[in-house]
Symmetry: D3
Subunit: 318 residues, 6 copies
């Protein structure tokens, strides 16, 4: 019997006991009529299908995303590993486990990352842009520390938005200098920091901080509008120059680049054009990183839904 | 010499004197070097090119859209009529002319139309939707009485927005009843009334009320966002139920139907879907009306930029 | 044991006996080699998967769509209900069951609906359009009373075409008045009545009147062409003015609005433009009605194949 | 003074007198107010702009496309030649000129081409297809001998449809043998012969046989529908097998290949697929021939409207 | 017990022993945990799923595509036949079986086909084009005799490229004469012969000559580039005129017709335009042939992935 | 009389004499028949239309792009300045003028820029990539110092390719470090340096180094193919590892990002994806810089052909 080994390290034939997150729980009946539980076992290192035969409750879909104490066996089914649960109970007060080892989390140190974000905001010369950004940071600090950048596709892990935003701020900082002839660095940095903050209300998160769904307003209004609307209101409160407030809203509303990619308006100034490209670049590079992780040199992935094509791993990514 | 005859009635060879609007004024030089003034003479019935030879000022582009006292001759050039100005001066205090005969205006009686709008808003059963609409009507009353619905394409005349909105409200009223199983009539009427109010700030108008350009915020933010943002703020002030406020914003943001037609989000409820279709229908019907006006039965227009195709006039539209 | 309860009311664990339609019958073999029968049990209120274990005939695919006397048990499989058949025989002469309770049927009274269609056709002022429409109604009366408007997507139930056509005629009647400046009401009503009559030969129907497939000519020629061709021939027989005959054919050929949606030509007059929009509107509203039926407020459907997006149900549709 | 020289041979500075076609006649006024006539002088070898200064009638647009006796001078304007008319009168009875030298005509011998068409139709083994084709040939013989295949783009000259159809029949004959495993040669030949016959009623022609416009039914119904409808009626009269009649209509309705290229339905059998490709091939090859005629090796054309690209002439086409 | 019967002739209930190719081998575990082998049994006449219950090795995926001696039973599962393996061993030295009966192969005689290719190349008048083609034929002779033209879609069988190339050469020969006014026959024949030779390095083949995958350079560079690059190098070695070398490369790079279909550049001369259409035609006709083989008249296929539509079989293809 | 003033400083009414480039020379005839010369006068600061009345040679189109000694007057025509030439002769030996003030040139110091390029290439760790890049730099050094990056759109001035390449190398250097987890810096730098070198043979340049046209091979093969082919040959000569040679070719062939933007294959590894985005970014930023140069804050450009939209200048770019 193995105890609390990492999901990424599990192998067929092992008997494993430990604390894991159980997600996507469904109650099912086999074609012959017996009830069983299906779901996915996961920790920060990976996930696989899980099944518990002849199980009729009391756990169900509403328990998805909770930490469970599990005991069972790893088998292989259809070319993939699956975990057959033999005993299950939710984690209780007093149980000892390392939550950080269970929840997939951005490979960054949150405190350091926030400090870097603050430094970059602090380097802005325009007091109006800076004041608004700092107020927004304070308002959203709790969620900004923890929320993913997406439900899937890229940065879909704890603190993913912070990681994505910081990477983009670093690129914005460099590129604003490279293209200083046409780019107002303060506007670009402000727009970069603000561009995805509307995601906080666009997504529904589980108690452990993972995105489980889009909210109704996320679907009906979108994070571009939600973010721009909040910035507009705050700019009004802080008495920001109208031109600047308009430009910030424009950067947020246009950061998806084209209407068919979800932009409410097309980028029409150098900073909004550049912001949309930096966003595209950071999300693409993360998609490459996530999808080639652990592959051997010379291999292709299958066709990725997010890119519409297969990608090649030519170097050692392990 | 003819006095103050309608532009639509002018014929080659006539000598005409009277008050007309002169628009699109440019100062030009002939290929041989002599200065002249070019522009367009217009009244409510039509417009044609105008030129004044050997004219070097003081009137210029900034005088576009003003009423002028003109004297000149109608000639034909390249198959179209043009007005050769011989004498020109801007209208002055004390001049007597009928402004309503000069400015192209919707074929409606503004007072009656506003009364009908109020009646339809008054027929709503939901007090929250109604209160917000009435406040918006009061706030924007002056411009709502007069502004065009567009710079060109359709309803590009004085009170065009009022005409477009009232037509759509009538259709919404009927269709809400026909599809009462899935359509909340109050939500549809409210969304219909509000959908284009952001145009007030999207367009720049001349002193006579015609659209001369898009504003910077109109270009960078768009009237969908401008309108939804104002409704959001007012809904907050009035304490509207969050779900209702969200739905109103959704109707406004999605009323262009598809991202490639300018929708910030796609319609996702029956009312927003229907609103986008009513808007499409009213603008299409107006494009047919404006473009086949005065044509003989059996004729096609040329290919229309607004529709991407030629259209056929099979009945007598004169 | 429950007798003849509605499919929509069945619950897991019930033992149910009664007359139901069995469709989509296939003879299958389990992975271990035993034969079984698979299909779908349905009545007017809904449908679910059905299976009969260890069944090797004589019933088979050719019996799809027939009424059967069934005895069995409702179970749950993969999150959905399924009906496990224990005994089966086709309905025979002398069996008593209410066919109208079994076949999904438009929520209209056919006699009333036909009367309304006749009234609207009767209100036309143009004798030529009217005569042609009434002849077409007589010719197609039997099928017009019963056929669905489609194989799936919307109005895919008995009398669906009548319901769809009547709704559209009502909208056409109202909108022809609203846009009377550019719309010839008689032409619009005639085109609306005729637009989908070619569907009779486009679809293959079961003995109970449901669409089971497209016919070869439906696939190779399409209902637009089939309908227009018949109208052309009849117009010739009746000596209709050539211009009118041409316009009717144009309305039918263009009613899908754009080539990529199946239009043989693009709408090029006000009536064909409006007809294509009324058709789009009525089908969209029915898709919303069918897909949100029974949902709770605040829920989204999954992504619908027919619309390419998920839709939101904000009010009580039960 | 040169007499009756070919338009293709005219050079700047020549004084030329002779019979030519004058097309596209417009009555214009110079910017200084004097009337003049503009049009294009043409014969079978080419065309150029023509002007007659200080001319106020009686000839006008209605005389476009007539043969005129002209006297004037060839000059150069904006890098192109133009013909300045000094004297003009329409050709009269008794005038002697060679009409065949004036009207642009397909480089084929009409009698021979018709004989080849008849031979290919005569080689069909299926009597039903053959009978229908021969009846159609008889019915349309006069126009089939003379009409162009298009208003512009390709084969837009006298007998262009005959040339296009014969070329396609030859290709169909060869390819039906190459792909005899899947292609019914008789069906392919019949569809090829019939595919464009609807053009006779789609286009308006001048008295000399050139296309001056599309007809109303050409715009509103299209030649695919017009042709298929006639074939359907004739097939009914001749008692053709329903399957064959359906296939002929399918080939005609689908011969543009894709809805966005004007196909009423998509090709769905080997013969319709192949017909659409043969049509594409013959029109493309003719576009290359017409646009590279007279070019030197190594030159590119400008971007062609018909192809959306420039094309290269690598060999000697003179 | 049946011995070595053709896969296309197998029927449910038969016990069959013989040599067959086993492809797509996967080692799986049933939902209850027992290991089994899944794959597909195939010979030149067809293929079906195969399973061997309670099998845990030693054969596995690496043995896919090898000839096996099998013993088992044909059953029906989900409406399709499957072969249940009871005994299995790889073919050994000394086994007697007819490889040509096992591998799906183009219905041509390779020697004859090569002779026809050589004759067509021999008929070229331009010595430079001819020399280069003959060198390329010699270089690639081994693979040209055997490789498929694709991994799937069309001509995905042994010698498929040879069959595809020869068919196209025949069409090119005929069409070059039909369009001799604009087409240089030698260039067209040369481009046709060369156009797909880059496929040799684009695909990975099994020991029996079937395509199992794309190579890395096939994915990252594509066969158009690979082929053009080789021709460029050889043209340099042979001192071919630069214009001719450029044209050959252009024909290869553009033979997919449009960028969205994989063309590196668009066809810009008559020969490249025609080559792309001949390629399209030959692949389409083969898709029709392969997908309607064995169908009854009057049937449609399901929607084909390769064409995006269903196709109709109107005649007897058995 | 002004001597040798900058084109950007010319004003209406000035009499100007000096050395300027005369481009786009055409010999024309006025509508009244007198010959004149038309062209454009330009220096490094700008350009405007030029005309010389009553001029019949000997200068003509073949003299386009040469330096001329001109004397004339600046006038205004159609709202734009034009230069009316009174005397003209080509520059001769012995004339004194500053060529660098006449030819539009990248705002960089060529020597410094080349040094920076060499430093970045020198910082590569992989000897194979480095050796190939240095050889390519040596081979193309003369043209790399001077050629524009395009005929128009962006960087269409002397040394434009060097400026574009250096900017991209700087961005590549920074982003390779930011995304070091997935990006091989050496490969990215090498691909960035090489990506546009094929442009040397894609464009035809005038004696002063400006692009006057595309070459035949530029049109028929494209600079992606031309560049990749040369790299392939050189990699072969230098014995570069096959994988590396393949990757370099892949980066060059895919750097336009999508087939519809001209990519021969899609980017399929992190470095090619990033290279295509850096190229897009640098060209977009340059388009913003060139098009907003000299505009006042708060102004929009007209709709730009290169971007398909108008852009906004919010800050002071003078």
């Amino acid at each position: 019997m193995e105890f609390n080994i990492r999901v990424a390290d599990m192998a067929s034939g092992q008997h494993v006991q430990g604390f894991y997150i159980l997600t996507d729980i469904r109650c099912k009946t086999s074609s012959k009529g017996s009830a069983f539980l299906a779901g996915r076992i996961m920790d920060a290192t990976g996930e696989m299908d899980a099944k518990m035969w002849d199980y009729a409750g009391p756990l169900g879909p509403a328990d998805s995303g909770r930490v469970m104490l599990l005991r069972g066996e790893v088998t292989e089914y259809n070319g993939a590993l699956q975990y057959i649960i033999q005993r299950i109970r939710p984690a209780q007060e007093g149980d000892k486990y390392d939550l950080s080892a269970l929840v997939p989390t951005a490979p960054i140190e949150v405190g350091d990352a926030l400090r870097e974000v603050r430094e970059l905001l602090g380097s802005m010369e325009d007091g109006e842009y800076q004041a608004l950004c700092l107020t927004m940071l304070d308002r959203h600090l709790d969620s900004f520390r923890t929320i993913p950048a997406a439900k899937s596709v890229h940065h879909a892990f704890r603190s993913g938005l912070l990681m994505h935003t910081l990477n983009m701020l670093k690129a914005a900082d460099f590129l604003a200098k490279l293209y200083s002839e046409v780019v107002d660095r303060d506007l670009l940095l402000a727009g970069t920091f603000l561009h995805d903050l509307g995601k906080e209300r666009e997504m529904v998160r589980s108690e452990l901080g993972l995105v489980t769904d889009y909210s109704a307003q996320g679907m009906l209004l979108g994070h571009l509008y939600i973010g721009a609307r909040e910035v507009a209101a705050l700019a009004g409160e802080q008495g920001m120059t109208e031109e600047k407030a308009m430009l910030l809203q424009h950067l947020i509303l246009s950061h998806h680049g084209k209407p068919e990619y979800g932009a409410a308006v097309e980028p029409q100034c150098a900073e909004s054009e550049l912001l949309s490209l930096i966003d595209l670049m950071d999300s693409r590079m993360e998609i490459y990183a996530e999808n080639t992780a652990g592959m051997k040199p010379g291999e292709f992935t299958g066709k990725l839904f997010s890119l519409g094509k297969a990608i090649y791993n030519h170097s050692d990514r392990t």
